[in-house]
């Protein structure tokens, strides 16, 4: 391998990237868009769940509960219903996902028996949102109960020991909304890197075939490995810039805590980027059209990273056969590493296994991609 030839290709490829607005858009704008789209798409469904209340009592106590719902960031009060029929209509036409019905004897039972009962009606067509809504609703109610209990303690001069604080705390913990987003944003970073990386490199070889420049290129003494290195290095740099954009958005915009170290992040991201760039390159070598190659590259990276990396569905809840399949999904290792780095600030040693797997993966892909390219027209 001669560095002179690698450099010639590297310079040429960089010039072409800079002069092709389309590839620059793919490189820089798409990750931004995807981060916002996916980042918000996911945070939207756990906040501002449309809610309607049917307060059959209309007392101070019952309205206080309704106001607690209205003040919660997880619910947005769409209005108060006047009867059951209206509640049913609101749920039917999708104006609200959750309806709270406060019985006419709410204050009385609360005061007399010390236990009020509130009915929650849920639209469970989207089970995920429904279970989240139920959880948040019970948390709001729990908050209300503890306030009522505190008041009653004060009134009766009773001691705190008579309460059941364990139950209360558990519900408040469940309420901590940021957990879901913190969990998901690192996965979004992995997804964006996978899509962008493979998209970038999927065009490089196909473009040469389409423009008719490949025939001359393969008539030169350039070696497949030199060609691959020279073509992928510029995209590697672009990919690392994308990684910086994603990381900055995750930390500064979405406020996800980053507890790991930057060198660890850079190293593992470099490994993952190598894998996806090589996947794109391999596809580009095999499919000699730009449109075809970019479609296949998208399919090969987006689907497995979305479904099988543990980003959206926990791997340990998948059927055993599917769990086995996830071992060949490179995103799996990167998502594990990212979650470790973002949330736990896990030290190197703890992430050794996924890092090792990803390294092995990168080496295999480099070899496959370099060998896939044949300097022949046959």
């Amino acid at each position: 391998m001669r560095w002179r030839r690698v450099k010639a290709i590297l310079v040429k490829e960089s010039l072409q990237i800079v002069r092709d607005p389309r590839s620059l858009v793919i490189a820089l704008l798409i990750p931004l868009l995807q981060m916002f789209l996916l980042g918000y798409g996911i945070s939207l469904d756990v906040k501002q769940i449309p809610l309607c209340a049917y307060d059959r009592e209309g007392s101070q106590a019952s309205q206080e509960l309704v106001q607690r719902f209205a003040a919660s960031p997880y619910f947005s009060l769409q209005g108060q219903a006047a009867n059951y029929a209206e509640v049913g209509r609101n749920l039917d036409n999708g104006r609200c996902r959750l309806a709270i019905v406060i019985p006419a004897d709410f204050s009385r039972t609360l005061n007399d028996a010390g236990q009020g009962v509130v009915q929650a009606l849920l639209d469970a067509t989207d089970t995920n949102t429904a279970s989240l809504a139920a959880g948040y609703a019970s948390a709001v109610v729990a908050g209300y109960s503890s306030a009522v209990q505190l008041k009653s303690i004060e009134r009766h001069g009773g001691s705190v020991q008579t309460l059941t604080p364990v139950e209360v705390r558990a519900r408040v913990w469940f309420n901590e909304d940021l957990v879901s987003r913190n969990f998901i944003i690192p996965g979004v970073v992995a997804l964006v890197m996978a899509i962008v990386g493979a998209q970038l490199s999927s065009l490089t070889i196909a473009r040469e075939w389409e423009r008719g420049t490949m025939e001359l290129l393969i008539s030169t003494p350039v070696k497949p490995m030199e060609l691959m290195l020279g073509k992928l290095l510029p995209y590697f740099i672009v990919g690392m810039i994308d990684a910086c954009i994603c990381l900055a958005l995750a930390v500064f915009w979405f406020q996800v805590p980053f507890r790991g170290t930057l060198p660890a992040m850079a190293f593992t991201t470099g490994l993952f980027l190598t894998v996806v760039l090589c996947i794109g390159y391999y596809v580009s070598v095999s499919i000699r059209s730009q449109v075809g190659a970019s479609q296949v590259a998208l399919l090969l990276t987006m689907l497995p990273t979305t479904l099988l990396s543990g980003f959206s569905f926990p791997i340990d809840q998948m059927p055993p056969a599917v769990q086995t399949v996830t071992y060949v999904v490179s995103g799996r290792y990167y998502v594990t590493i990212l979650k470790g780095l973002f949330l736990k600030g896990a030290p190197w040693t703890e992430l050794l296994l996924p890092i090792l797997c990803l390294t092995l993966y990168a080496l295999v892909m480099i070899l496959l991609a370099a060998r896939a390219f044949r300097k022949t027209l046959d």
């Binding site: 420049t213 290129l217 030169t220 300097k375």
Partner: protein, 320 residues
């Protein structure tokens, strides 16, 4: 080994290339000496490009052998690639890069050293006549400049052998002439050039030409040799009105070997021009054609080519 074989830069021996059932190159053999310009003439689809691609190591031969600079293309294509320059049929420099960026790229992949690079770049830019336009994007250049730039890119590393696949197609006549002057200058320096074309007039610029049709080599020699040897007779040009219908009548006339349409005239190959010229004129006039004028002409390569193609087709027909 003969003295000629020692000097030969390209040796092709019974070369065959099949694509499935289709035989693109069918048992072709020839040699090209150092400093020789060899022209490949034939219609589109004759197998010229396939042959050149095999010699550049881009396609593997199905049978036979090809040595380029003494290296077997099937065994060491990389060794061949280091020693050759190639201009593909389709223009294949990078349109979104400038003149000098393209040249620097090809210099780099051909391994031109940093020390030699400035000189080679200047030479290539001069040769292409692009001095002062080094920073122009290639997309903005006209056809003739592009072709010369592509030639410049192909010779940056001073190859001993050049393969040019229809380098002048789609280029205006004055650019074509200039291009051929460059080819001859390179040959003078000892570069062997194998160039394909479908322009018959360009064949006259070659030291030797090979006529190819349907993957077969149907004639090989200097332009003069081919014209004399292939025809085996003398040529008459007959002009007149609506002569197309006269072909059948002429074909059966005594002493006539071949008749072919050339524009509005008929070219007739006869055993002896002095004898047959008045005979044919009379025959046509008697049969009702008007304004018939016949004259003896020197055969062009196109005449030989048409004759050779039809006689090789006749042979193939007889064999089948």
């Amino acid at each position: 080994m003969t003295a000629n074989a020692v000097a030969a830069q390209i040796v092709v021996d019974a070369l065959v290339k099949r694509f499935g059932d289709f035989v693109a190159v069918n048992g072709v053999s020839f040699e090209v000496a150092r400093g020789e310009v060899m022209g490949f003439i034939g219609p589109n689809g004759a197998g010229k490009s396939t042959l050149i691609r095999i010699l550049c190591g881009l396609l593997r031969p199905s049978a036979g052998r090809a040595l380029v600079a003494g290296i077997d293309v099937a065994q060491d294509p990389e060794g061949v690639r280091r020693r050759i320059g190639y201009m593909s049929q389709k223009f294949s420099l990078y349109n979104d890069m400038s003149v000098v960026e393209n040249l620097r790229f090809f210099g780099g992949v051909y391994g031109v050293s940093r020390v030699d690079m400035p000189d080679r770049l200047r030479f290539a830019v001069d040769m292409a006549g692009l001095t002062g336009r080094e920073d122009a994007l290639v997309a903005t250049l006209a056809g003739g400049w592009k072709q010369r730039l592509a030639l410049g890119a192909a010779i940056l590393h001073r190859p001993a052998i050049l393969f040019l696949d229809e380098p002048t197609s789609g280029v205006d006549p004055s650019s074509r002439r200039r291009f051929w002057e460059l080819i001859h200058a390179l040959a003078q320096d000892g570069v062997s050039v194998l160039v394909s074309t479908h322009y018959m007039d360009e064949a006259e610029y070659c030291d030797r030409i090979a006529l190819v049709n349907h993957g077969r080599l149907i004639a090989l020699g200097t332009p003069l040799e081919l014209k004399q040897r292939s025809l085996g007779g003398e040529l008459l040009a007959i002009e007149g009105e609506r002569l197309g219908d006269a072909m059948a009548s002429l074909q059966s006339a005594p002493g006539v070997r071949d008749v072919a349409m050339f524009g509005s005239a008929l070219h007739v190959l006869v055993d002896e021009a002095a004898l047959r010229l008045p005979e044919l004129e009379q025959r046509l006039t008697a049969a009702g054609w008007t304004n018939v004028r016949a004259r003896r002409i020197d055969p062009s390569l196109e005449d030989s080519f048409v004759h050779l193609v039809s006689s090789s087709a006749a042979q193939a027909g007889a064999a089948a």
